[in-house]
Amino acid sequence: MEFTREDVRKIAVLARLDLTDAQMDHYAGQLGRILAHVDKLGELNTEGVEPTSHSLRLVNVLREDEPRPSLPNEAALANAPEQELGCFKVPPIIQEM
């Protein structure tokens, strides 16, 4: 399966990865080979087989609506590079909601 630098660039933007042109070319080759391998599955005859979204044969894993203690504020923010007034501090969010 052919994978171009542009394909990699689009995926990199979606995944918020900053890649150099050389890296993009490198990954284009690797991703192409991975997809070619996965494409082999397409050779199988899957007629009459229900689409599967999960490998577990489980349904209805539910919990009761019972509140449980949450983390203290300090613990919730422990990994935050910056914080203020008990909140995560992030670059300004403009325009969008």
């Binding site: 979204s53 577990l56 349904v59 449980r68 949450s70 919730a76 300004p92 325009q95």
Partner: protein
């Protein structure tokens, strides 16, 4: 040819659960920031979501109340996008196997019924809250994740509405059903019920839909109506001046009263939905479906019929009273205190109703007069303690917080005078001063009596029993 507005809605309602959809954190509103989080709703690696049974049941109840067919199995998907209030970088939502599909809501608009189709009803999670500091030059935002993971019901309608009037009737009717069925408390001030409008225009008579614009950030019904007006005008002006409407998402700017295009991003949104591998499918079996169906409480239509049959109200009055669940509850709690005269109590609902009507986002709980006090007032009228005319003054005093009806009547000496000896001198005085009127009445012009009764009522500051005054006048002049 004139223009026609076409409106559809996407509605988000936070479900009335005590805990979040995938974890046990509390959903309580208004607590200190980031004190209702855990590894699951913070999106920590290795944490696993587990579906809240009540969220599933409430959402199913809403889907059934809206006439949807329930998909079995139903399944959750990841909607991928980056935003600071979304810690996992994806929102767990539904797409291919929505909980409910193909429903409808019949809405009364004036005398006719409008059939609004519901495309789907699905279950998802709310995001956190972004706080933008007011301080001038503040170049950062703050994020509170208490709300992240609150169970959210999304209802998507077809573009079946054509005017502000229809939009308002639909919003009120939908809110009423969600409240009646106990699915959400629908508190719009707290953002627990939110409307997004899809608006387009087309030439009257056209079959084809125009290009739609999605408007967000509408935090009250009043705002939605204003936005429909403004956005309709904007699109018509655009088209009439030879331009075109761009399919986009716009934000309502409350301060300026206009919609603004959201800054388009470099790459168009690509949500890359896929089934969430952390969550297994949900299969609602027949027994559960029947149980949930049986749990749907009396809905507005049924309640209206009951008000007509049981309380003898007109269909119109019953419709008005039951449209707002809280108002109907208010009315019924007044009847619980004094049930002998439902029509009399219903008459006094006009005032709170008018008050509610002034602002669609008002809540009857904030009305200064409690239901029991209205019951007490009607009881005082029915028992002959005060006249209907005086009752209006008492009501005004109640609005001003002067106390309970009986207390006000006592304090202000408003007890109706039904003692003939107390009224007699005044009747005599008025009759003596109005010989003309007396002649007229004797000559058969009975209408002239009204003016005399009026004078006597004024003399007694409205306290005389008007019925009694009437009888006394007739008796005296015919003596």
């Amino acid at each position: 040819m004139g223009w026609e507005t076409v409106i559809g809605f996407e509605i988000h309602a936070e479900l009335a659960t005590a805990s979040k959809i995938w974890c046990g954190c509390s959903t309580e509103f208004g607590r200190a920031p980031n004190t209702q989080t855990c590894p699951v709703c913070l999106g920590m690696p290795g944490s696993l979501p587990v579906l809240n049974r009540k969220a599933l049941e409430l959402a199913t109840r809403a889907a059934l109340a809206l006439g949807c067919r329930i998909n079995r199995p139903t399944q959750f998907e990841r909607k991928n996008y980056y935003y600071p209030d979304l810690p996992k970088n994806y929102q767990i939502s539904q797409l291919r196997k929505n909980l409910g599909e193909g429903g409808f809501l019949d809405v009364k608009v004036g005398d006719s019924t409008l059939h609004v189709r519901i495309n789907n009803v699905h279950l998802e999670e709310d995001a956190g809250k972004n706080i933008h500091p007011d301080a001038p030059g503040a170049d950062y935002s703050l994020v509170d994740l208490n709300r992240a993971g609150t169970p959210l019901l999304e209802i998507v309608t077809e573009p079946d509405l054509r005017s502000k009037e229809e939009a308002l009737a639909f919003m009120e009717s939908l809110k009423s059903i969600l409240e009646y069925s106990g699915v959400s408390d629908c508190n719009m001030h707290q953002g627990r019920l939110r409307f997004e409008a899809n608006i387009s225009v087309r030439r009257q008579g056209d079959d084809k839909l125009g290009t739609k614009v999605e408007v967000k950030n509408l935090n009250s019904m009043k705002t939605v109506l204003k936005c429909i007006e403004v956005e309709t005008d904007r699109q018509i002006i655009e088209l009439e001046s030879g331009g075109r409407v761009v399919q986009e998402t716009r934000l309502w700017d409350e301060a300026a009263g206009v919609t603004r295009a959201m800054r388009s991003k470099e790459v168009a949104n690509d949500y890359r939905y896929f089934p969430d591998p952390d969550l297994v499918a949900v299969e609602i079996d027949d027994a559960l479906l029947e149980r949930i169906r049986a749990e749907i409480p009396e809905l507005p239509d049924a309640r209206r019929k009951r008000f007509v049959e049981k309380f003898g109200l007109s269909d119109y009055d019953a419709g008005v009273l039951t449209a707002d669940k809280d108002l109907a509850d208010y009315f019924e709690s007044a009847l619980a205190v004094y049930g002998a005269n439902p029509k009399g109590v219903a008459n006094w609902m006009a005032e709170p109703l008018r008050w509610l009507g002034e602002d669609p986002d008002r809540d009857i709980g904030e009305y200064p007069i409690k239901a029991a006090a209205i019951a007490e007032l009607v009881k005082l009228i029915d028992g002959g303690t005060i006249s209907g005319r005086i009752a209006k003054d008492v009501y005004r005093a109640m609005l001003d917080g002067e106390g309970a009806p009986a207390e006000i009547v006592k304090k202000k000496g408003l007890v109706q005078i039904s003692d003939t000896s107390a009224i007699e001198p005044i009747v005599d005085k008025v009759l003596a001063a109005n010989a003309d009127a007396v002649e007229k009445i004797l000559a058969g012009k009975e209408k002239a009596i009204g003016a005399l009764v009026g004078q006597i009522m004024r003399e007694t500051k409205g306290k005389a029993n008007p019925q009694l005054v009437n009888e006394m006048i007739l008796r005296k002049i015919r003596q």
